[in-house]
Symmetry: C2
Subunit: 211 residues, 2 copies
């Protein structure tokens, strides 16, 4: 199974490293990090770079393509959207994490599809003709979308379960000891204290620049 | 707060990217990826490289040092252990994820300390004089250790809560929408189906090379 993981400047690193850590353990998986150019790609914090091993025009067709979110997601038409449409035309699965779903939407791939996104940007999905669903992982046909940042781990395990069966997914989950125990209960707007939800809503433009 | 995140060839990427994604959002944090040499460092799968921006001998003293695990953790005495002892001598917190605790142990830093590790390697901690504790996150004095791979997210949130207060930790948790929903219940040896636990035990040497 060929898997292309997309990188772009301003991406959120965990959005793509979460799925990578799960998917790279799938027996027979050939995982490739792709970006507009080969080489280091800076994440949104400015602190970390991940290295792309293939340019978009060198990346072979893949069975699964994963698009991360970021603070400055590529929502303006361009070469990246063209590549995504081409990749999607031959993929078995097209997936996103966080505001990566807005990138898929902006590329015209989610029209009429149920999808999720970061909780702060769910309301943007209808701009692209998608139907927002406030769930951790949403699968509609070949489109798998995950909620904010850390949801990529759950999404990837769900995909592995569908592609290779539950035993493989469970082996990978145990291998990465994914037995989450958040020390606080604040991971969703329904669970977090109201003042903290309000704070993040006020600062939405600092968290994601939607242009 | 200065934070040095260690990279080494053969590390597990999520071990360090999980804490990075949390800690880099701590207001005032200065996060630096350090390795023996500046430049790309290959993770254990051979697929992903993360970029170190400072060499060990250039990295300034930090308040927090985080050591990831990997399939081939550096357990043999050498320059990395010397650096760790120096970093630990001036840190407020010294932390690890997964078999990173064995690296701390091999550097002589966990003698008499309660610590955790990947569930497959907990039994190695006594070799280094540490007391194994099968918990997700263990804090003993200034030493914070997390269990396997994905536990670094929980560990980092716990540290942020202690350093900056629960509100800051909750804001970060909501920002990365850390509301985990694993699609399977197999994240610990107590929860996973017995044949899967047995499979991973048989393949331990493939998962971690302990030399």
């Amino acid at each position: 199974m060929k898997i292309n993981l997309l990188l772009y400047g301003g991406m959120t690193a965990l959005d793509i490293v979460g799925p990578y850590e799960v998917l790279s353990r799938l027996p027979g998986a050939e995982v490739l990090f792709v970006a507009e150019k080969v080489g280091p790609v800076r994440a949104d914090t400015g602190v970390l770079s991940l290295v792309a091993d293939a340019a978009l025009d060198e990346a072979l067709a893949a069975d699964l393509v994963v698009v991360p979110g970021g603070r400055t997601p590529p929502l303006v038409p361009g070469v990246l959207h063209e590549w995504l449409r081409g990749a999607d035309a031959v993929s078995t699965w097209t997936a996103s994490v966080c505001v990566g779903s807005l990138v898929l939407g902006a590329a015209g791939l989610l029209r009429g599809r149920r999808a999720t996104s970061h909780w702060l940007t769910l309301d943007r999905l209808p701009f692209y003709g998608a139907v927002p669903v406030a769930e951790r992982v949403v699968i509609d046909g070949k489109y798998a979308t995950g909620a904010g940042v850390s949801a990529g781990i759950d999404m990837a395990l769900e995909l592995v379960g569908r592609v290779a069966g539950p035993e493989v997914a469970q082996s990978i989950q145990l291998g990465i000891e994914y037995d989450p125990r958040p020390p606080f209960s604040a991971g969703s707007p329904g669970a977090a204290p109201l003042p903290i939800v309000a704070l993040l809503r006020r600062n939405r433009d600092m968290i994601v620049r939607l242009g």
